[in-house]
Symmetry: C3
Subunit: 274 residues, 3 copies
């Protein structure tokens, strides 16, 4: 069965760790189509993995299996899970790596505090506990190869999620990842990702902005940007726009905005209504 399996890890591409996972998958399902989302997540940066996964996964066809191994707790108590949404199946550690993508399916009201989120009616999840589908022996340091990859491969052959373990009712989220705050009528968000071009992707979504964006200033790293542009090429110098995933981005024409502004993920961005 030619199912698509995507891979997102912090393994880099130098050591053959990703290839080992692919070899295991192909040994179980020779017809699986393996597509890399990213292997350059910063080591152990679960929040970054959560963001990259949530934006890239949406372009894949229904039924795609998304395998994520950014797993600082490998071999310790953290659960390994399968998460089923109405469109995709996700496989990975239960450490918050699915925080962004479950937003649209769950109650966000608790976003600023709790680190466990109720799955609600649209999501199902299973804790992976049945060793029948694992490689043997399991290395305590490489569950990507020995647990997650074979589970994804068996899922791609049509094994139902419930065969891998018991259903669970909550999964882990990273609290506060996407919350913005309001101060004197201004909206204050944060940089959640800096991409390869140095563009700053912020926690501020299109829907967080006033309908009339001509009258806003965006403040970032001691610079002020007036209003929004439509494209990277339609302004000179620093510009702000709604990026391809629906988030406010700050970009530098023909340059690297992150380096120019000297900012990093987590830094605040202010939207000021004039």
């Amino acid at each position: 069965m030619g199912a698509i399996i995507t891979l997102t890890t912090d393994f880099g591409l130098a050591d053959g760790y990703v290839a080992a996972m692919k070899g295991v998958v192909l040994g179980i399902n020779p017809e699986a189509k393996l597509i890399d989302i990213s292997h350059f997540i910063q080591p152990q940066n679960v929040a970054q993995a959560a963001f990259v996964l949530s934006t890239a996964c949406e372009s894949f066809p229904r039924g795609t299996i998304h395998l994520v191994v950014v797993d600082p707790g490998v071999g310790t108590e953290r659960r390994a899970i399968i998460l089923k949404t109405p469109v995709y199946i996700f496989v990975g550690p239960d450490n918050g790596v699915f925080s962004y993508l479950i937003r649209r399916f769950t109650d966000e009201s608790g976003d600023s505090g709790q680190d466990q989120r109720e799955l609600g009616p649209w999501l199902e999840a299973v804790e992976i506990t049945n060793p029948r589908f694992w490689e043997s022996p399991v290395s305590p340091t490489f569950h990507g190869r020995d647990i997650f990859a074979p589970v994804a491969a068996h899922l791609s052959l049509g094994v139902p999620p419930e065969d891998f373990g018991e259903a669970i009712e909550t999964i882990t989220v990273i609290p506060g990842l996407q919350s913005n705050r309001t101060q004197n009528g201004d909206t204050i968000g944060r940089i959640i990702h800096i991409d390869y071009f140095g563009n700053l992707i912020t926690s501020i979504r299109n829907s967080d902005l006033p309908k009339e964006t001509k009258g806003i200033n965006i403040e970032a790293g001691n610079h002020v940007i007036s209003g929004l542009s439509l494209t990277y090429g339609s302004a000179v110098g620093l510009l702000a726009l709604i990026g391809s995933s629906g988030y406010l981005e700050i970009s530098l024409r023909d340059g690297n905005a992150a380096a120019y502004l000297g900012v990093k993920p987590g830094d605040e961005i202010k939207i000021r209504n004039l």
Copy 2:
């Protein structure tokens, strides 16, 4: 239909942008075979993309679709095109990224001046204007995902180029990319690419050299190399040879020639006939 689609971008591999394009392709043609040419073109370096594409594309079988998204003008006036040669179909922005590969099919006499080249009898091109084959909505900042990828996918299913828009008669080239000049009997070319090993690929082709190459000196960055070597391992120190794509290359045995010489793309290389 298991057509091959190659991808060449300046997106890097960290953010999932390339994966989003692949997801779109597989949603349209699940049998497409996706092969990366490079995603480490320097940001917005159209000339570098043009070179890398022209050398790598030739190893692919007839009928391969080559998708290129190095597109500083995304969302602005630049045209999006399909270019059909006797062997391949190319999809990308009309910004000069096809400059090298059309050389053998078009009249080079205008190479040093014009930035529009007549297609002539061997090439056909279409401006992509028919939104029927695009993702909807189209992000103004990510035509790779929303226009170029779905167009390539529909081409791979056999949709003919003319269904995507109107035929055009000229395409954009980067003027002077490959022209060398002659001075007192010497040939002066330029470094057009520095590869991962630090080898300098120059604009001087095998056919630009005298038949007897024992009697030439190659001058680069204040160093002089006498004659040509056959392989990277057949000389000590700096050496010059005809590389695997037919261009004169300068290499440092067991080292990085670019770092050693302190040179960069665009710097001049002189061939002196003794």
Copy 3:
């Protein structure tokens, strides 16, 4: 025939060299499944390639063809070979790049000295000499594209190894790669690889350690680690464990052990029995 062909090179991913090899393979066997092991082997580092290949290749299914092009001697006298083990077929230069993986099949007694190893009863090898299966012309600087890739592709179509050239009886190994020495009851090994996370993989295998590992100290770069951990997350600071490929690894919790210790491949690691 949908055979798997893996690729291990030192080509990087920026220049399209890897893509050229894949294009050649797909021109010969359109059904081949191409999987990258690594293209970020340090330039010309045959020992590193040998290690990465040996650990990643084992996760692939029986019959996989592993293509390796880390080839500082390209175009010179070194032989090009096909190596057949009971499980896989390997294709690459005969420069020691198969040193680790043949260990289990050959007599190790000569490991510290000779650079030619008898193949013995479990292995077969052929020197690639028959140009019938090569691209034409062969570039003297890119045998990966013009010899190794087409040979791997034809092997994947079922052409038997003996059609590519004459059987050979010995292959090249890098002497002493995996030998440890004993000094006053201590075992002294070396760092053989530093991975993307900065973990130090050493030449000391599980079987080289005493059964009771509580009573050992591991000395690396002026630091001492007491006993072994089970996982990367189960100790604070520096820790040692048996990694996923069976070698002793030294790791820094939430950090980069290689940078912290200031060590490099080749540096000694001492196991002290208290």
